[in-house]
């Protein structure tokens, strides 16, 4: 069975989904969305890839080993922003010290962007890790079993 329609559709949709995830990620302080939703959307693009081309192919694109690192990096990014604001002389996650001379709270914008980026990294890599570990356990089932 050639799944040509699904393959072409996935090829067309993959890049826009990731673009949309990035838009949601970095536009979160202007519109609805943020790191959590963006991370999930980003993961969904790769889940779609796995549905279409099989999990082994997706593992080649984005290996589990990279996901480990990204998962930890996300949390470190978030916590690191907090520690950085403390080192700059403010409170934990008090972003105003990032750009102290700003009159329109540019520090808050930077801080929120950094923190949301950490959330997005952790959420997307964790979702993909859970997906990999669940679906990687059994061989594909027969069509009749559905």
């Amino acid at each position: 069975m050639s799944r040509i329609v699904i393959k072409v559709a996935t090829k067309i949709l993959f890049a826009p989904i990731i673009l949309y995830a990035l838009y949601v990620q970095f536009h979160g302080d202007y519109g609805p969305g943020g790191g959590f939703q963006a991370g999930v959307t980003f993961a969904v693009a790769f889940i779609l890839h796995a549905f279409c081309y099989g999990l082994e192919e997706t593992r080649k694109v984005l290996p589990q080993r990279a996901l480990f690192v990204l998962m930890m990096l996300g949390v470190l990014f978030f916590a690191g922003t907090g520690v950085a604001t403390m080192l700059l002389g403010g409170n934990l996650l008090g972003y105003d010290v990032i750009v102290p001379e700003s009159t329109h709270h540019a520090g808050q914008h930077y801080g929120i962007l950094l923190v949301e980026f950490g959330v997005g990294l952790t959420v997307s890599s964790t979702m993909l890790t859970i997906f990999y570990s669940f679906t990687g356990r059994e061989p594909d089932i027969d069509q009749e079993d559905w």
Partner: protein
């Protein structure tokens, strides 16, 4: 109460039809035994509730519900379903009256609790009066971010969100420890010797 004299405006009709569809989907889910259909209908339920959240002006919550509830958790439930049976085992019919009584009692308690709830959008409601109002008033001056939800989530309650991120990270680590330890070394496929099939 005179506050509840609602006209049949288009928004109310949309709300009513969404809630009716939610109820129908929920009843269908309870009655079905075929797990694939149940998982798909759970996705439909999430999407319907996301639409309902949009109609309640909670777009951030709706977005999360659509992405997580309808998207990822449907996929994860399908993945989990592949590891177990395709059909739900029939329940014990002798326990049905007990379960029915428990569900009815909990439902009656919830309906009773809604009588005391403030009306939707009530400015005097505790959720809107104190902290919520403070956030709405202070965000333009203190954070200067248009989306107040993001300001609360990432700045005012940044420590809280750090905790949530840690929770997600912990969930990922737990899944790796329980299921995926072998596959981390070079992507070898892990399978149970004696599967439940």
């Amino acid at each position: 109460m005179s506050d509840f004299d609602v006209e049949l405006s288009p928004i109310v009709l949309v709300d009513l039809s969404l809630l009716t569809m939610l109820l129908l989907v929920a009843i269908t889910i309870v009655r079905l035994r075929h797990l694939f259909a149940v998982v798909m209908l759970l996705g439909v339920y999430s999407l319907l509730s996301a639409s309902f959240f949009v109609s309640l002006d909670a777009v951030d919550v709706a977005f999360t519900e659509a992405a997580v509830g309808a998207g990822v958790s449907t996929v994860l439930m399908l993945g989990a379903m592949l590891l177990t049976a395709r059909r739900e085992k029939p329940g014990n019919p002798r326990r049905a009256p007990v379960a029915m009584a428990a569900v009815l009692a909990a439902g009656a308690a919830l309906v009773y609790a809604t009588i005391d709830m403030p009306a939707f959008g009530d400015r005097q409601a505790p959720a809107n009066a104190h902290v919520g109002q403070a956030y709405v008033e202070r965000t333009p001056d203190e954070i200067a971010v248009p989306n107040i939800v993001t300001a609360v989530l990432a700045s005012y309650r940044g420590f809280d969100t750090l905790g949530e991120t840690m929770v997600i990270f912990t969930a990922g680590v737990a899944v790796i420890l329980l299921l995926g330890a072998g596959s981390s070394r070079g992507g070898r496929r892990v399978s149970d010797r004696e599967g439940p099939r």
